[in-house]
Amino acid sequence: MTVSVTLTVNGKAASASVDPRMLLVHLLRDQLQLTGTHVGCDTAQCGACTIHLNGRAVKACSMLAVQANGANVTTIEGLTGKGDKMHPMQEAFRDCHGLQCGFCTPGMVMSACQLLADNPKPTEAEIRAGLEGNICRCTGYHNIVKAVQQAAAQA
């Protein structure tokens, strides 16, 4: 059985014929070639696969592509503005050294954007609690928190 899905990805219409078993993250990475969204744990623990579905952060490894039928999806590639200008959250991660290997970064940035959308001026404790679903093996989180604070201060 295949099902056709039509969705908007980073502002562009996309459609694909998928096996209902296909995960959204595989549609994005393998069919739409948007490899910025990473797969870390594949078990809903690490947040590396975080994208925005109709404006809300979700784990793309934990949903089926068919569940995104008709939805508006934003991936890390869709955050950059015209002329590849980085999003302020990406700039802040770079400025504050909020990444080392970078594996967790796309998910971290997508989560952090949702965090500030819900709570534009979070405290440090609120940032740490808000990023609970994203795991980083490298940075020790300190500079990630600084980056979110910088992005919040600039917004």
Partner: protein, 267 residues
């Protein structure tokens, strides 16, 4: 993941009609998609509930808050109506997992799944909620006290769809969980609610299924204070013991968490 047929009906009646044989409902998928990926669960037909508008939404009617089965945890957490009527419920929903889990996971999925460490079951028992469910042409109202029957088990019949849950508004209530830090589920979570002179205390995470701590309820009915709850010695009989905490540890934590919940309920 094993192959399945996918259906996405737009009405509850159509969803119930599709739920034949070993068909499963798909809500947020935060538990079910994981289980299917690990081949712990398989189904011939997956019936996606996300396109059914009548299963979504929050309303207040008289002294009840009614929440549709497909309402996401984050919607309950942010709802002005829930925050006003039962702040403890908004708080509970806002403490489930992480923001991505909350954006996808639903009330109906959480209680149908009946994870022994899940948060919502504590609110179902703690508030004495009523679960509305339908199978075939039959609609019924299930009392919270009779809904959970064991480890990942409920009284739902095969193919029975939860449509909504009615939560009575208490005088005051609070939910406090001691988190298992890796999973963020409750190692022990206690929901306390006061309705006039009646006090309900529900405990999750500690046994194979959520339960009411009747000794603590009796103590709190006499004196609704943190000290009264914390002074009750809870038996370790039937408590879960694992690498995260022994049965005795969990038993002790029930009184501690109940005391904290009373303190929070009193504001």
């Amino acid at each position: 993941m094993y192959a399945f047929e996918y259906q996405n009906p737009s009405t509850a009646a159509a969803a119930i009609g599709s739920a034949k044989g070993d068909a499963r409902f798909l809500a947020g998928g935060q538990s079910l998609v994981q289980a299917m990926k690990l081949r712990l669960s398989q189904t011939g037909t997956l019936v996606d509930l996300s396109g059914i508008a009548e299963l979504k939404g929050i309303s207040v009617a008289g002294s009840n808050v009614i929440i549709g089965a497909m309402t996401r945890h984050s919607e309950v957490a942010r709802s002005a109506e829930v925050k006003q009527a039962i702040p403890a419920l908004a708080d509970l929903a806002g403490g489930i997992g992480d923001q991505m889990v909350r954006n996808q996971g639903t009330l109906g999925g959480s209680i149908a799944n009946a994870d022994p460490a899940a948060c919502y079951p504590a609110a179902i028992l703690g508030l004495g909620a009523t679960i509305k469910a339908s199978v075939g042409q039959k609609e019924r109202a299930i009392t919270g006290d009779s809904f959970f029957t064991g480890l990942f088990e409920t009284t739902l019949a095969p193919g029975e769809l939860i449509t909504s849950v009615e939560f009575p508004v208490p005088d005051c209530a609070a939910y406090v969980k001691f988190k298992q830090p890796a999973s963020r589920f409750a190692l022990v979570g206690v929901f306390v609610a006061k309705f006039g002179s009646t006090v309900r205390v529900a405990v999750t995470g500690a046994k194979s299924s959520v339960f009411r701590a009747t000794d603590i309820e009796a103590a709190l009915s006499k004196s609704f204070t943190p000290e009264a709850a914390a002074a009750v010695k809870v038996s370790a009989n039937g408590m879960n013991g694992d690498m995260h905490g022994s049965a005795e540890y969990r038993a002790a934590m029930v009184s501690v968490m109940a005391g904290r919940a009373v303190a929070r309920a009193l504001g």
